[in-house]
């Protein structure tokens, strides 16, 4: 297992969490300004999961995420400018401006893409993990999904096969309490999503998803189990959703009460408080880290806006190998 993170590493986590937050704020503003069409699914208030999990993985470990995956891409080390350019559908985007907000990818950094069909990427991630198991290279694959996706057949079939074949896959469920409009207590038969693992004989854990240290600790245990041949884990991270499902969702949850819920649970001030109280990072240092993150997000947006649109003559460039 990875050692307890150093103060320097923790400062890096904080900067990344801030970068994700500022990045997402720019994405939402850009959408409202009409800089891109379609939709986008911010991960505001879920940054601690992306950062805590990524810190427990090696750079060579593959990651798969969902449409709510900008934070996972950033935490995995993708550069912000090509990510923002992809969201703005530019040629310089990480997916050449063909995939957009829901299809971010950087194979060179082992970020195998975000996916817009609920749970469909879970078996694909299991296949990648199985390939690495066959090769015996010790790589552990991580796949992220929301609570809504845990009712899909592809998810449940994959839990079974991960347990059956001891596939080195950590399945991280970000339970933010809502599947679009349906609250978890209406849409799920179990209190904890992690309970689904038990019936298949798969290891599981539940953790407060809004504290990156707790997430990291639980993720590191799951990664260690997978790396040492102990098979997969379903790790449930309890979190709170930013007030809306997506930028185009109806405003049903766009109200003060819901907004207060995530603001109270907001992992960024929570982590800041811990960093100061327990790890001796001063408020001034925190401010400087946030300022770096802000500058990085600003630069990314500027780069994306200046980037060219894809050439219409190349519209079908990547359909076939």
């Amino acid at each position: 297992m990875k050692n307890t993170p150093s103060q320097n590493e923790l400062s890096g986590w904080y900067r990344t969490m801030c970068a994700i937050r500022f990045f997402e704020e720019h994405v939402i503003a850009s959408y409202r300004e009409g800089l891109f069409t379609g939709s986008t699914h911010p991960c505001i208030c879920q940054e601690a999961i992306a950062v805590g999990c990524a810190a427990a993985l090696e750079p060579g470990d593959p990651v798969f995420a969902t449409y709510r995956g900008h934070g996972h891409a950033i935490a995995k080390g993708l550069e912000l400018p090509p990510l923002m350019a992809e969201i703005l559908c530019r040629e310089t985007g990480c997916s050449k401006g063909r995939g957009g907000s829901m299809h971010l990818c950087d194979v060179g950094r082992e970020f195998w893409g975000t996916n817009a069909i609920l749970a469909a990427h879970v078996p694909i991630a299991a296949g990648m993990a199985l390939a690495n198991k066959k090769r015996g290279n010790g790589k552990v694959t991580a796949v992220f999904l929301g609570d809504g996706a845990t009712s899909e057949g592809a998810f449940l079939e994959t839990l079974h096969m991960v347990a059956l074949w001891k596939i080195p896959l950590v399945i991280v469920c970000e339970n933010n309490g809502y599947a679009i409009s349906v609250p978890t207590h209406v849409g799920k038969s179990v209190e904890d999503i992690a309970q689904h693992a038990e019936g298949f004989g798969l290891a599981s854990a539940v953790v407060d998803g809004n504290d990156p240290l707790l997430v990291h600790e639980a993720m590191a245990r799951a990664v260690e189990r997978a790396r040492s041949g102990g098979g997969g884990t379903l790790l449930e991270c309890k979190t709170v959703r930013w007030e809306r499902h997506s930028a185009i969702s109806a405003g049903k949850y766009d109200n003060e009460e819901e907004a207060m819920k995530w603001k109270k649970a907001d992992p960024i001030p929570r982590f800041a408080a811990r960093l100061t109280a327990e790890f001796g990072v001063s408020p001034v240092e925190l401010e400087a880290l946030a300022a770096e993150a802000r500058a990085a997000a600003d630069d990314a947006l500027a780069f994306a806006k200046e980037s060219p649109l894809p050439d219409p003559g190349e519209v079908d460039a990547y359909v076939y190998a």
Partner: protein, 320 residues
């Protein structure tokens, strides 16, 4: 060599050549596959490469995609093409879209093998020809061989193609024998084969209908009508050039398939011929196709599928 043996040989040959190839499915291990296509492969390559799994088409196909993306070309077995509905998200939304949506960063060398199984009295959920659905999916190849030599050559090509391929087999063709080259000669995907030359009528067909069409053409020849039978071999890409060239020569076209008539492959084939050879047509195009209804069991099943006689009737009609 039978077509089942030819596919087996192609898999074995390519698995020996490429140690990364993996086969996934149900009943493909020591049992050798529901229709015997995998005979002996488990013995030679073991559990790690010929892997029996649970009955879970969606996850199995998704896992196949992940293996393929990781650089391990994977063959996923769907026991009857009817069951492909259970894996259709993985094929349609995932395998076929992934390369494009990620700006060319990934390849998905996945081959989904799925046989058409009909006229065995298995009813509406085990007798369909669903290939038309998948022709409609850009990013996916659809291969429909009709004989052992083509099956071997096309399987070799499919395993090396780098794109997801739906390899549609036909249970009635598995025992059919034919000459198969022993050499490693892949057949390019997207090129039709002229199964019989003729000057009067073009018959475009594939898979299980090639033989009835050839038999009908022989009968028609006795009546002085010479038919050119095109075995299309692949539906995506469709060899439009080869089709149009033939229709321009004969001036008449019949399209024959077992799939339902409405929005079946014949609609695309006929329209492609119209677009390329309208000025040469001397008669309306005729489709000889399966009935637009669920497939019954027992004696009734003989009435929903096209056969040699219906093709012959179409030849007479188009020549009248």
């Amino acid at each position: 060599m039978s077509m089942a043996e030819a596919i087996n040989e192609a898999l074995r040959h390519e698995m020996r050549r490429n140690p990364d190839i993996v086969l996934l499915g149900q009943d493909i291990g020591p049992y050798g596959g529901t229709f015997g296509v995998y005979k002996g492969l488990h013995t030679e390559f073991g559990d790690g490469r010929v892997t029996d799994g649970p009955v879970a088409e969606a996850a199995t196909t998704g896992i196949g995609i992940g293996l393929a993306m990781a650089g391990m070309p994977t063959v996923v077995e769907i026991e009857f093409i009817d069951f492909i509905t259970l894996a259709s998200d993985a094929i349609v939304n995932q395998a076929a879209k992934m390369r494009f949506s990620f700006g060319g960063q990934v390849s998905v060398p996945l081959v989904v093998r799925a046989p058409i199984v009909n006229k065995l009295g298995l009813g509406a959920q085990h007798s369909q020809s669903l290939e038309a659905w998948f022709m409609h999916v850009p990013g996916l190849r659809v291969v429909v061989p009709s004989n052992p030599a083509d099956a071997k050559g096309l399987m070799l090509a499919a395993l090396r193609d780098g794109n997801p391929v739906l390899f549609v087999e036909h249970v009635r063709l598995y025992p059919v024998k034919g000459e198969v080259p022993v050499e490693d000669v892949p057949i390019p995907i997207g090129r039709l084969r002229v199964a019989r030359e003729g000057r009067d009528v073009t018959i475009a067909t594939y898979s299980g209908m090639v033989r009835p069409c050839l038999e009908a053409a022989e009968e028609a020849a006795k009546e002085g009508m010479e038919c050119e039978v095109l075995d299309l071999r692949t539906l995506n890409p469709l060899d439009r050039e080869g089709l149009v060239a033939s229709v321009a020569r004969t001036g008449r076209l019949i399209v024959a398939h077992e799939a339902c008539k409405t929005a079946g492959p014949g609609a695309e084939i006929a329209q492609s011929a119209l677009e390329g050879a309208f000025d040469y047509l001397e008669a309306p195009i005729i489709r000889v196709a399966g009935a637009d209804q669920p497939i019954p069991v027992g004696s009734l099943q003989d009435y929903v599928f096209p056969d040699k006689n219906r093709v012959l009737a179409a030849i007479r009609e188009v020549m009248a």
